[in-house]
Each structure stands twice: as structure tokens, then as C-alpha cells.
């Protein structure tokens, strides 16, 4: 059975295709202004990546903040459900799942069966999501990759005063003018972000358990290091293809729900 999980974020749309629960294709496109059309293109891309066509997909599940605007999916699930299922499938030992995406971050506590026990979200404030890290890297005039690496090299702990992305940008500029070394500024930014994400994880009820990390920001080594330090945890497991976590979980749920059905794909959106 071939299922697809479509994670419709405000910034990007990620798609994962599973064949008999094995990952065979994935694709990402920018959400843009026409989410349904972009979602279809993402699905086509993933199908191509899997060496199949869209018509071969038996069942699709949508997740993400924009899932309601995509009407061709067979089923929809919340990001919490999708993340939990995806993480549990990858790491059955996982008990705390942290997903830090571009616009939103969430922390989910699951039990040994993968059932969601509690969760907390950082939403509606850019300082608690990936867009903060991007904005700070732009203020330092370095790539995101460099930003993470620089931060991991620093040994200083300069607390950031600003707790808002807009004000933090000015603070970074001011730190540069005061000749604070760039890698120390980078670390300060990552520490500030990690503090907010860690607090969110604690709201979900973090204990000294297996913590796994997904979402695009998990690819940032500076952030991972800062989060490990802030949570006082020896090691956080970064999931493989972390930015596809939601799509993966949705696709797995699709395999469970779609088993035995021939639901197929709904109508292709106009203009796609």
C-alpha cells in the first residue's frame, strides 16, 4: 500500500511517500500564496522521487497549519498526532518529542505505546520558532549553516536582553557595533531560542527521558547544542530528515487508516 503524508506549513510543504511503510519518496516546496496548488506540486515531486505517479498513491493524509486548505486529501490529522506517530515509529524509546519548525514549535510527551499524554505549543510568537534563528543569521550576515557552526564554537554565555525577534535584530546589530565576537553573538541567539523551547518542553512535562528533536531547526547544530545545555541533558536524539517528521507521521497514520480501503485521491485542484 502506498500512502502520502502532506505537511502544509505556512512556509513550506513537506511530503513523504511510504510504500508498505517504507520511505520511498520525499519532497518539499515553498507554500507560497496558493497552498492547495503548492501541495499538489509537492505531492507530484515526492511521487517522482519515489519513481511512481500521483495516481499510484492509495491514501493521503494532510497535517500542518494549512491542512484545511488542501481539499484533495483523504484524511487530516493534527501536527501533534502526526509528530507523535512519526517520532514513535522512528524511535520507539522516545518519550518527549520536540519539533521546532519555521513558524511554530511544539513539545509532545508520549507513553511507551506512542500515545500522546500532554503537549505544549509555541505559536503566534516568532521568537519561539525557526524564523527567529533565520532573522538573527541575516542580522549577522551569515548563512544559516555558518550561524549554527559559529555558535557551537563559542564558549561565552552572553544573555540576550531582547525576547522578541524584532528587538533582537537591533540588539544583534548593537552587539556587532560593540565588537562582540560574532560567534559569541551567534551563541547568545541560540541560547535565547533554546531557553524558550526548553520552557515549552517543560510545559509538556519533560522529565529525564528520551528526548528526540524534529523540525527544520533540528538541522542547526548550534541550536541542538544549546538545547542540550539548557535542558541539562547529555544528548538529544536528532531524528533523521527532521523537517519531514510531520509528513512521515501523517503517512504512517495513512497506512493505518487506509488499509483495506480504495479511497484514492480526491480531485486535483484547479490550476494545478
Amino acid at each position: 500500500m502506498i500512502t502520502a503524508g502532506i505537511d502544509v506549513g505556512s512556509k513550506n510543504i513537506h511530503v513523504v511517500i511510504l510504500r508498505d511503510e517504507e520511505l520511498v519518496g520525499r519532497w518539499v516546496v515553498a507554500s507560497g500564496f496558493e497552498q492547495a496548488e503548492a501541495a499538489w506540486r509537492a505531492l507530484e515531486g515526492a511521487a517522482g522521487d519515489a519513481g511512481i505517479t500521483v495516481e499510484d498513491v492509495d491514501y493521503t493524509v494532510g497535517t500542518g497549519v494549512g491542512r484545511k486548505s488542501v481539499d484533495f486529501v483523504d484524511h487530516r490529522v493534527t501536527e501533534i498526532a502526526a509528530d507523535a506517530r512519526g517520532a514513535y515509529r522512528l524511535i520507539p524509546d522516545a518519550r518527549t518529542v520536540i519539533d521546532v519548525g519555521a513558524d511554530e514549535a511544539r513539545a509532545i510527551r508520549i507513553d511507551e505505546t506512542g500515545k500522546v499524554l500532554d503537549f505544549a505549543v509555541n505559536e503566534k510568537c516568532a521568537a519561539g520558532a525557526g524564523v527567529f534563528v533565520e532573522a538573527m543569521s541575516r542580522a549577522l550576515e551569515v548563512s544559516l549553516q555558518e550561524f549554527g557552526e559559529m555558535s557551537a564554537r563559542s564558549k561565552e554565555s552572553i544573555p540576550m536582553n531582547a525576547q522578541c525577534t524584532v528587538f533582537a535584530e537591533s540588539e544583534v546589530v548593537s552587539l556587532i557595533h560593540n565588537n562582540v565576537p560574532k560567534h559569541d553573538i551567534a551563541k547568545a541567539c541560540h541560547d535565547a531560542m533554546a531557553g524558550r523551547v526548553a520552557a515549552m518542553a517543560r510545559r509538556a512535562g519533560l522529565e529525564e527521558e528520551k528526548v528526540v528533536l524534529g523540525g527544520g531547526v533540528a538541522l542547526n547544530m548550534g541550536f541542538v547544542k544549546a538545547l542540550q545545555e539548557t535542558l541539562s541533558i547529555g544528548e538529544i536524539t536528532v531524528l533523521p530528515d527532521p523537517e519531514f517528521l510531520g509528513a512521515l507521521g501523517a503517512a504512517i497514520i495513512g497506512a493505518e487508516k487506509g488499509a483495506g480501503t480504495t479511497a484514492g485521491l480526491g480531485k486535483q485542484p484547479q490550476g494545478a
Binding site: F33, D103, K124, C125, A126, V166, F167
Partner: protein
Amino acid sequence: MNMVEENKEFWRWSEKVWRDETMDWQGSESITAGIDVGSVSSQAVVMVDGKVYAYHSTRTGSSSPSSAHKALDGALEGSDLTLEDVHYVVGTGYGRVNVPFANRAITEISCHARGANFMAGPSIRTILDMGGQDCKVMRCDENGKVQNFIMNDKCAAGTGRGMEVIADALGVPIEDIGSRSFETDGRPPVVSNVCTVFAKSEATALLKAGWSVNNVLASYCAAMADRVAGLIERIGVEPEFFITGGIAKNEGVVNRVEGIIGVRAIPLDESTNLDPQIAGALGAAVFAQALLKKERKKATHQG
């Protein structure tokens, strides 16, 4: 090019200096000064026998002490009054400030309310100050003593900076925000984002979807007014209501705030020659006056 610079300075206090040329400070009983060192600008107010003699507003520099000196020097420039002639100085400002020549430091909240009371009269009970980087609301008594306050300096939404980001994204010069936000066809779009960063993306998307700039602007002014009104309503509004800060000049937000809270702000009497931006330093100078009086009274009792 000059015009653009001035536009950007709208929320940021531009250089301003004023002195009462007719006042003769020689032979006066008390000369006091208030210095307010803010994160963006600094002000100094000099009072002679309880009347405002001079004031100066300038950009805050790299250090608190140097900004304090710069502010006071500017106020005194051209007169023959010097720091040595000043009997009592109160320092105030954002966070922990360091005015080395101050006799005493007092919080900006207390100074702001006292200054607004001096400027706009004892009938003032609620003061809204919307600066470039913060938004605060104070309730005070007839003497300008603070009874209740609330401040937001964490989140850009609801501050001058937040408005600046949206105005830039929409390509609207800041001084045009007010008028343009009312030149709409009455169908402003629904905006869901409070956060300035997300609001900026949302605004761009709305323009792409065909909404006019004025309509989108109207929505954001309404959203901003909502934020500010929310802060006011947490501590309640009692007339008379007075507004200070750069936003006082933005009718697009002020009108809507008044509409939501149901109270109109009273205007500042122009004949006072005072500027709302000096409220903090003015309040500090008023405190200095009172503290000087107290000190002298104590000295005569002991003497």
C-alpha cells in the same frame, strides 16, 4: 534623501531644544534638573523656581553618563547657567540608568506620571505612553502619583517599532499612516497575526491577494489599537486620559484606541511650549524640586 531620514525619525525623538529666553535664573531660589536616559533618546529639563526654563532632547549615545551630560549640556547651551548652579538633579530612564551627577534616581514610571501631571494638569488620571520600543499605561492621582501601572517592552506589537515594520512592508511613510488608514472603502481584511514578524508576511500575502494598501493598513492600525487597548483595560481607564509618545501623533491608532476604550484623550495645551516627549525628564525635575525643598526644610530644622 533628507526627507527619508526625517521619516525614519518619527518614532525616534529628533533633536529638539527650547529655552525660555525671558526667564532670568539669577537670583532664583531653586534650580533643579531632571535627566531621562532612554534606550533611544535622552532628555534634560531644567526648572527655575518650579517653572520650566529649558529642555533638550537628543539621541542616546554609547553610555548612560555621556548621554546624560549631552542632554543637559544641550539644554544649557547659550545660557550662562551651568551644572554647578543646579541645586538638585534627579536621574531616570530605561532600566538601571547611571546619571553620575544626579542626587537621586527615580523610576521612569513615577517620573513619567509626574511629568504628565505637570504638563496636562491635575485632572489627568490615566496616561498612555507609546514609545518606539515599549508601551506603558499609568493610573495616577491628582498629584501625579502612580497608583497602578502596566508596561510591555517585550513584544514589538503595540510599539512604534512594530508599526514601523508594517508601514515599511506596505510602503507607507509613517506620517501618512493616520490619514491613509481612514481612506478605505470600508472593507478591511481580517488579520489574524499579532506578532509583527508574522503580521508582515500576512500583510504581503493580503496585498498579493488584491487588497489595497489602505485597507490592509486600516486592519493593522485596528489590530495595534486592539493590543494597546487590551493593556489599558487590564488596569482600567479613568478620565482624564492623556497620551504621550510618538504614537500620540498617529491618528490611525489613537482614534481607534479611543473608540475601543470609550474615552477621548485630552490634547496638550500648545501654549505651554512643552513637548510630550519630555514627560519623563520633566517629572524628574519636578521630583527634584520637591526633594530639594524637603532637604532644605530638614537643614533649617537641624541648623
